[in-house]
């Protein structure tokens, strides 16, 4: 009888610190049966840390946890999984070298007579993915798929493993709007089956749309828990960062007036660029002092285009020029020398987790700090400036990058290029994983760079990101540019429609 009354998950007085720095302070958290519980808070507020405790990744903490009223203390993800807790991490944890089917069945492959039953696995995976509305060949290699798709598949795996409590740490950050809707459909289905979901996101609209209950974290403390129906976005922002939100609101709702700078010189010219099956016939002009936004759904060729501009992928056709000089980058180093800088969307592939913050920031500019020899004191001074201007927390440059929260890591990645501004800055998903305040910081920084005369290209699958940053917007669809918005007002709906 008490079984019935006990919530599936209950945490009391949870505290956790890393090397003397408190990440969570005395948190009480209750998850009810069949509810979607939204979790919001600034970068570094402690959301992921709490979830990692629940999922058994942090075995050492103070406080009590109970599942269905039974006290538990997980020391490994395996134990948590056995108790019915599954987590989709902020950083993807799929195995890129295995097939989709193997990833779905990870750790529980069907066997026949002791050997893996491939057919059953591929069929099962196909059916399961189709149920979730995910259309992908189960035999495809995971690493060859777009990040957003990988994320959906990881979610599919967690659901498939029979988890009764599903934790999603920023699941929508790589998804296009239709995919978000599809994800929501899946989540509603999961909820209907009586399972409970924790949903972490910086997209407050998403959180309000899908959640039954919303909890706000700030600085390691749980600030408030409210029914989603009773609150609005402004209220959330107020609680999260405790400052006015009018300006933020402005850039996310309403239509944006674009002002073009047709008279400035072209810093990046692209003509008829094509690469494999990813994109073709892409022509762009980016002028000095302009932010060009490129918007498109996931898989439309944005990611490949960004990599081609930076010389990571080779173009098959077309020409490029930087500052009037033609360029065919065969390596990233060459593109870099020509004055192009790039921040990719995946943190994993741009940061050094085992190295301190300052080395992560100085890596791109070491050649400018000293010819042959390193000058660590200069490196640290530069890094300290960035840490301060980007309000990276904790505010020390010696911290190992791996111990920063996701959003703060993203800021470090951007900071890399701010010391000696390049001619052209290419940003792929620059605000992914950032809280509202940090997004505003990015907008401020990017506009600052633009005003110094840099040409900026922002590629994103988030309409808000493009709208809040760009002076001119082109829309990409299936590898081609299909529309351009310039010198007019444009709204999110118009943008979505064009894609």
């Amino acid at each position: 009888m008490t079984e019935e009354a006990a919530p599936p998950l209950e945490l009391r007085g949870i505290s956790k610190s890393f090397g003397g720095v408190a990440a969570l302070r005395d948190v009480d958290f209750v998850l009810r049966r069949g509810e979607i519980h939204g979790l919001v808070g600034e970068n570094g507020a402690g959301k992921s840390t709490l979830m990692k405790i629940i999922a058994g990744l942090h075995g050492q903490y103070d406080g009590r946890m109970a599942i269905d009223g039974r006290p538990v203390h997980f020391r490994s993800p395996r134990e948590a999984l056995a108790a019915g807790i599954g987590m989709v991490h902020q950083e993807l944890s799929v195995v890129p070298d295995l097939t989709v089917a193997e990833n779905v069945y990870l750790g529980q492959q069907p066997t026949r007579g002791g050997i893996v039953d491939w057919r059953a696995m591929v069929d099962g995976a196909r059916r399961h993915l189709a149920d979730l509305g995910i259309d992908v060949d189960p035999r495809a290699r995971m690493g060859s798929l777009a990040i957003g798709l990988q994320q959906l598949i990881e979610l599919a795996r967690v659901l498939f493993s029979g988890a009764r409590i599903v934790i999603l740490d920023e699941p929508t950050s790589a998804l296009s709007p239709p995919e978000v809707q599809r994800l929501f459909e899946v989540l509603r289905g999961v909820r209907a089956s009586g399972r409970s979901i924790v949903f972490i996101s910086h997209f407050l609209d998403d959180v309000l749309a899908i959640s039954d209950t919303v909890t706000i974290f700030r600085n390691g403390r749980l600030i408030a828990t409210e029914a989603a129906g009773a609150i609005d976005k402004g209220w959330l922002i107020q609680r999260m960062i405790g400052r006015g939100h009018e300006e933020l609101e402005g850039s996310y709702i309403g239509a944006i007036a674009l002002d073009s700078r047709a008279d400035a010189p072209v810093v990046l010219g692209v003509h008829g660029l094509a690469a494999g099956r990813a994109f073709a016939d892409v022509s762009l002009d980016v002028r000095a002092g302009e932010v060009l936004g490129i918007y498109g759904f996931m898989g439309c060729g944005l990611i490949e285009l960004a990599r081609t501009l930076f010389g990571k992928l080779r173009a098959d056709a077309g020409t490029m020029s930087v500052g009037g000089k033609s360029l065919r980058p065969r390596s990233t180093a060459e593109a870099c020398r020509a004055g192009i800088a790039f921040v990719p969307e995946s943190r994993r592939s741009m940061l050094f987790y085992g190295e301190p913050v300052y080395k992560n920031m100085s890596i791109s500019v070491l050649g400018r700090i000293g010819r042959m020899l390193l000058r660590p004191s200069v490196e640290k001074d530069i890094a300290r400036r960035h840490v301060q201007s980007l309000s990276i927390r904790p505010p020390t440059v010696e911290t190992l990058l791996g111990s920063l929260s996701g959003g703060n890591q993203q800021k470090v990645a951007l900071a890399k290029w701010l010391t000696w501004p390049p001619k052209v800055l290419v940003l792929s998903e620059p605000t992914r994983g950032m809280d509202v305040g940090a997004k505003e910081d990015v907008v401020r920084i990017v506009k600052g760079l633009r005003d110094q005369g840099m040409g900026v290209v922002v590629l994103s699958t988030e309409p808000e990101t493009v709208l809040s940053l760009a002076d001119r917007i082109v829309v990409m669809k299936k590898g081609r540019i299909v529309h351009e918005f310039a010198g007019q007002t444009v709204s999110k709906d118009q943008l979505l429609e064009a894609a």
Binding site: S331, F342, S349, M350, F352, I363
Partner: protein, 327 residues
């Protein structure tokens, strides 16, 4: 956790191999009367010098998460080459090409440089995994050696080489000094130069280095050439040290050099470790090889014991690094 504990945990990569070394030294000092002497210490240093020079280059390669299996073969080629271009005694039956000493040395160095360049081109331009490319080079090196000496043995090397390989100054073998100079230079480059930082970053996360605009291929190519050059110098001095140049002379040095780097605590996955680790790894290996000769056990058993102790040292390292990386 206190600052001290954090510091200790961060230094585990060096502390654990160091403790292993201390234990080995203590053990052999207690069990053998002849082990703990100044003379023997000098012996050990001399014994690890050739390996040490090779290990410097290999440390660069392993820090980049690559491997070079051709170090011993390149050492052998270079050693034989320098003898090949030196006037041999009449009884040496090799159709060689005698040249002045400096020319012989330059040609030998050019030879190992070229082999390194071939390795580097195969790995970076064609994209052959370093394991495979250098495995092939190991065979190619053996082939070149065979062609040059045709089963014979050469003895004479240029004066400078025999001085550095076999001479002494104030009782200290030049060989030890050369090895020390190489280790020091390697350490300085890795710690204080931009290139050294790139080596660590490329080993730490190659993709991220590329996205930061680092010329990853250039860095990889350079470490491979550095490794070949170190091997070449080790090969020339080794020939002088042993007093002869012949086929298969350096075969044991491949595993010794890899073992020294890895036992010292440099990660095979790249990005962590350094010359400090390699020095400790060299000493562990040297003490182990030398110490076993000082105690009374079946000499056939020694080989097995050596293997087991190396395994134990590796296990300790891996375990300690896990402790460090978790939490």
């Amino acid at each position: 956790m206190t600052a001290m504990a954090v510091f200790l945990r961060n230094q585990m990569r060096i502390i654990a191999p160091f403790a292993t070394l201390i234990v080995l030294v203590a053990f052999f000092s207690l069990t053998s009367r002849s082990f703990a002497s100044l003379d023997n210490a000098a012996n050990i240093l001399t014994q690890i010098s050739v390996t040490g020079i090779i290990a410097v280059g290999l440390t660069f390669v392993i820090l980049c998460a690559e491997i070079d299996l051709s170090v011993a073969a390149i050492a052998n080629v270079t050693g034989i080459a320098v003898a090949y271009f030196t006037l041999q005694e009449g009884y040496v039956n090799i159709a060689n090409v005698p040249l002045p000493g400096f020319a012989a040395i330059l040609l030998a160095l050019l030879g190992c440089f070229m082999l390194g360049v071939v390795n580097a081109a195969g790995i970076t331009l064609i994209g052959i995994p370093s394991f495979i490319m250098t495995l092939a080079m190991m065979q190619i090196g053996a082939g070149i050696c065979a062609l040059l000496v045709r089963g014979q043995i050469a003895y004479a090397v240029p004066d400078l080489v025999s001085l550095l390989g076999a001479g002494r100054v104030m009782g200290i073998p030049y060989l030890v000094l050369v090895a020390a100079a190489f280790l020091l230079a390697g350490h300085l480059v890795l710690t204080y130069t931009r290139f050294g930082r790139y080596v660590y970053m490329v080993g730490g996360n190659r993709e991220a280095a590329e996205y930061a605009g680092v010329n990853v291929k250039l860095v990889l190519g350079t470490v491979i050439v550095i490794s070949a050059m170190c091997s070449g110098v080790a090969g020339m001095l080794g020939v002088a040290h042993f007093g002869s140049a012949q086929q298969n002379e350096f075969d044991g040095y491949l595993l010794d050099a890899i073992a020294a780097v890895v036992v010292g605590g440099t990660s095979l996955f790249g990005g962590r470790g350094g010359i400090g680790n390699t020095i400790i790894g060299l000493l562990i290996l040297g003490v182990l090889n030398n110490g076993l000769d000082h105690i009374q056990i079946d000499s056939f058993l020694k080989i097995l014991i050596r293997g087991l102790i190396l395994l134990a040292a590796l296990i300790i390292n891996v375990y300690v690094q896990k402790v460090r990386d978790s939490a």
